[in-house]
């Protein structure tokens, strides 16, 4: 198998994978407490800063959420858009943040926030033990 064949096959698998979440509709998997594990930029992983080490998001079944970001806890609500493969988080002030779900499993969640400063940064979470 030539190098080019491997590259094209990998690209096809990567492209197809982005639809897997929406097709399976595994909505219940997100109901969990997700701890911030780190960031991945251009394939390189970065651990959270000291301020972020305790960060987490809890998605509840009643569509409310609790999050901790740099030590500050906030409550809000969320909408899970299966077709758009994103979660829209709304804080108490009504401000919305959209995060595309890159992948989700029982153990891991990868989000890409639709914010200019976070473009092309994968935010990795793992499930609380």
């Amino acid at each position: 198998m030539s190098v080019w064949t491997i590259a094209i096959t990998s690209l096809f698998i990567m492209t197809a994978k982005s639809d897997i979440y929406a097709q399976q509709g595994e909505k219940d998997v997100i109901f969990n407490k997700w701890h911030l594990d780190g960031y991945v930029v251009d394939g390189k992983k970065y651990t959270p800063s000291n301020k972020e080490k305790e960060d987490y998001i809890v998605f509840r079944e009643d569509m409310t959420l609790v999050s901790k970001s740099e030590g500050k806890e906030e409550e809000g609500t969320y909408l899970l858009n299966t077709n758009g493969a994103y979660v829209l988080m709304i804080d108490e002030n009504g401000e919305k943040i959209k995060a595309y779900i890159i992948s989700i499993s029982k153990q891991f969640l990868i989000l890409e926030y639709d914010i200019n400063e976070m473009k092309d940064i994968e935010v990795h979470y793992n499930r609380a033990i």
């Binding site: 909505k27 858009n81 758009g84 709304i90």
Partner: protein, 352 residues
């Protein structure tokens, strides 16, 4: 001969028509628990029968907009005997894409849906933009994902309707989830009205500047996203040269002075009427001044400064055309000839 002319006429008529592109809405059911309604009818109230025009192609659903959306709704909320029938009217549904920054293209779906009881009572209207940003060159992926954004917009509308009914109607028609938790709104109290996705302008311009001490010119590339109401912040890259006027240069003890500068700046455009903009700018030219004294000895001087300009700009045609501008400028810089200066500028260029 007549047949040939008729054929040529038919062919050229066809080239001016839009070609059609069919969008196939995939079936991706999403879970809505404990719902006691279903969508019984969908009506398309729009005047146009297409979804948008992208690069000369009219987009439409193969089986019609109302039938396609009804099928989408049936997949997630199938009819059962114990469910209440709800009617949807499609007030607006548009697919767009445009360059929205120097390195980004935005694809967008705009949707307006109204929900009614079977007797015709309006329950809720939702207005929503579903947008997604892509790198500038990603046209293929944009075209392939229009249908996903339509599905995402439809799902958003359903969730918005469900949450609105839960939070705002005491004797709500649709009983749902835990009403205590519904303390947020997905939509603002005043629904958004449709604003077209802005058009990106590229301009190449030549500017002639004259003031008391210098004559100069400047070439620039400017790119900006048009907006009817907001202050437009364009991206500008410019290069210019100016030459000191001979009599004044000699007064300062030089036979010639030439300045070469790169300009990095912030401009603001304010659209007054279509094609007419007020242009306000601040820039920081950085470059070099090359001086030759009366004995012919050459020296250089690092040039840094601050400049401002105010003017008007006329961009005659949207897609490709002429740009004409005029304005005033003020400048302070570390010049050996004159540190403070003001003058006039005339601009001519093209947009594409």
């Amino acid at each position: 001969m007549k047949e040939i002319i008729s054929i040529l006429f038919a062919i050229s008529s066809c080239t001016f028509c839009f070609s059609q592109t069919t969008i196939d809405l995939k079936t991706v059911p999403f879970e809505i628990k404990n719902e006691n309604f279903y969508i019984s009818k969908v009506f398309d109230d729009r005047q146009e029968n297409y979804l948008g025009v992208i690069e000369g192609n009219k987009l439409h659903f193969e089986n019609g907009t109302d039938t396609t959306i009804k099928k989408f709704m049936d997949t997630t909320l199938p009819k059962t005997n114990d469910r209440i029938p709800i009617t949807i009217r499609i007030n607006n549904l548009k697919i767009e894409q445009a360059q929205t920054s120097i390195e980004e293209r935005t694809a967008r779906v705009y949707i307006e849906l109204s929900f009614y009881t079977e007797s015709g009572e309006e329950l809720y209207k939702v207005v929503h933009y579903e947008d997604q940003a892509f790198p500038l060159s990603d046209l293929t992926e944009i075209n392939e994902t229009h249908e996903q954004r339509v599905r995402a917009a439809l799902e958003y509308c359903l969730w918005s309707f469900i949450d609105h009914q839960t939070s705002n109607t005491p004797n709500n028609l649709i009983e749902n989830r835990n009403a205590d938790k519904a303390n947020y709104t997905l939509e603002e109290s005043n629904p958004q009205t449709y604003v077209p996705l802005g058009k990106w302008f590229n301009m190449l311009t030549f500017t002639k500047m004259t003031d008391r001490y210098n004559e100069g010119w400047n070439v620039a590339y400017t790119g900006f996203l048009d907006s009817e109401n907001d202050l437009i912040i364009p991206f500008t890259l410019a290069y210019g040269q100016s030459r000191g006027k001979l009599d004044l240069v000699r007064e300062r003890g030089y036979s010639s002075v030439n300045a070469y500068a790169l300009g990095f700046g912030f401009n603001g455009f304010i659209k007054i009427i279509p094609s007419l903009y007020v242009d306000l700018g601040l820039n920081a030219p950085i470059g070099m001044e090359v001086l030759r004294d009366l004995a012919g000895k050459r020296s250089t001087n690092f040039l840094i400064g601050l400049g401002a300009h105010q003017g008007v700009k006329i961009i005659l045609w949207k897609d490709f055309g002429i740009v004409i501008g005029a304005g005033l400028f003020q400048r302070w810089q570390t010049s050996k000839i004159e540190k403070r200066n003001f003058g006039f500028e005339l601009e001519l260029g093209i947009n594409f």
